[in-house]
């Protein structure tokens, strides 16, 4: 059983076709990276998978069920969560509350209970808080637990998004350039974190420009170019794939 598969997926914006008749299959478990030159359609693919964009054509399957028409929050409900290339933190809340929002699916959302602040709501609040503290500690943000989100440095916001996404208890976690803008030490920490998340059983899909990170961490790599499937394989296979070298690694690949 494949976890995610897409068939003939197409997304065009006016005249520009960002994703073009793309077919791919993601097996459960491990870390799968999507790479490709700038403008290859990686982020668009993520936006399609997470329901932010509706595809122009094609189908998306999640655990063999057709989820093409599900909206963003419904996809989150069946276990698909993500982070954003440009951080989308809730700057009007504290860091901890950001992660607590991630617990939304697993807390009491009944309106009448909420209005009357019934014990079940208090219990839900407590559980959310505990989970959020645990997750912030897990991603290494223990020092920021009581800080407002807008006081966090960029690197910390990146982790905060990961913690928030984990709080939804995803089966698949889509990470959109988690290392962009981080220094080498921070990148190494993110690397370790991603490995650990995968080891805990969450399938990780990664879009990342840092080739060192991608090559080291990925169990499988899928290369797309001009919105189309170009190659797939292990880091070693991709490194030696002539198509990939021609399309993407060209200049960069040779001196690695």
């Amino acid at each position: 059983m494949s976890l995610i598969s897409v068939e003939h997926l197409t997304k065009s914006f006016g005249g520009i076709v960002a994703v073009n008749e793309l077919d791919l299959t993601i097996e459960p478990g491990g870390i799968v990276s999507i790479i490709g030159p700038n403008g290859a359609g990686k982020t668009t693919l993520f936006n399609l998978l997470s329901g932010i964009y509706q595809p122009t054509a094609g189908r998306i399957f999640f655990a063999d069920e057709d989820v093409t028409d599900l909206s963003c929050h419904e996809l989150a409900g069946i276990g698909l969560s993500r982070t954003f290339q440009n951080v989308q933190s809730f700057m009007n809340m504290s860091a901890l509350e950001n992660v607590m929002v991630g617990c939304h699916l697993h807390s009491n959302q009944r309106f009448i209970d909420t209005l009357l602040q019934l014990p079940s709501i208090k219990k839900s609040n407590r559980e959310c808080r505990d989970t959020a503290i645990e997750l912030m500690t897990y991603v290494g943000l223990k020092d920021y637990i009581s800080a407002p989100a807008d006081r966090l440095p960029y690197g910390a916001l990146k982790r905060l998004e990961i913690a928030r996404a984990l709080a939804t208890r995803p089966r698949v976690l889509l990470l959109d350039e988690p290392a962009a803008g981080l220094n080498p030490r921070e990148t190494q920490e993110i690397d370790d974190l991603i490995r650990d998340i995968a080891k805990q059983g969450t399938t990780v899909m990664l879009v990342e420009h840092d080739m060192k990170l991608v090559m080291g961490i990925s169990d499988r790599i899928i290369v797309i170019d001009h919105g189309q499937w170009l190659a797939e394989g292990t880091a070693e296979e991709i490194r030696h794939n002539p198509d990939v070298i021609a399309a993407y690694l060209g200049e960069q690949g040779r001196n690695r």
Binding site: F13, T43, N47, I52, F84, Q85, N86, Q88, D176
Partner: protein
Amino acid sequence: MLAEFLQYLISGVTVGAIYGLVGIGFSIIYNSSQVINFTQGEFVMIGGMATVSLISAGVPMPLAMLGAVALATIVGVALEKFCIEPSRNAPVVTLIIITIGASIFLRGTAEVLWDRNFHSLVPISGDNPIDIAGAKLLPQSIWIVGSLMVIVCGLWLFFNRTLLGKAMLATSYNRLAAQLVGIEVRNILLLSFVLSSTLGAVAGILIAPISMTYSTVGVMLGLKGFSAAIVGGLGNPMGAILGGLIVGIAEAMTAGYISSAYKDAVAFIIILAVLFFMPNGLFGRKVVEKV
């Protein structure tokens, strides 16, 4: 039948042109600052009221008009300098409230400085109507539509043929990039207030002979101008004109054929209908969510 229809069309186009003029002001300021300037209607009021008071002080009409426009422009500049610029980083709602506070202040000042009475202005070329297929066309309407056309052409030339105009357009598309290529964004902001207040005052002077002028004339005109800008698509000055004409004609037709009491309601229902189908107005930039 036809005469009736033509009559409604004429009055619709006349007020529509005024709404459009006010709407352009909203659009220009929005473009350079993302602010909806609710004092726009007060510029209209200042244009009309200042002309009236200057004339009654013995100033000849053309000079009085110039003086009124100049006064509105000064107010516009002061508004930008003392209210908008110090609040650059405030959220949108806060900025809206600041401009509303300013408009209350200006209205209050006008009532103290002038009065609360209704004043009329003498039409520029008399009030002998021209007969068109049974409908009466006031010379003032020609002045209004003519001025609108001149202004539209002028703005088009300004935005497309002058460096300054292009700099303004560039700022509206991407503030940061504009700044990086050396455009003084602050001056652009100031300029947008100069332009909008001038246009507002002109609208106020032009409409005064038809619908009178008074201290609260700017309230409804401001709202209608805002509607025009929204229907046309915020930030698109030419869209604002079309929006103004749509709102104006819809109003006149409703007043003529359905009920004058509900003319404002129908105008707003049309606006809501447009927004429900085109959430960014007729010609607004479509926003693709980028993440």
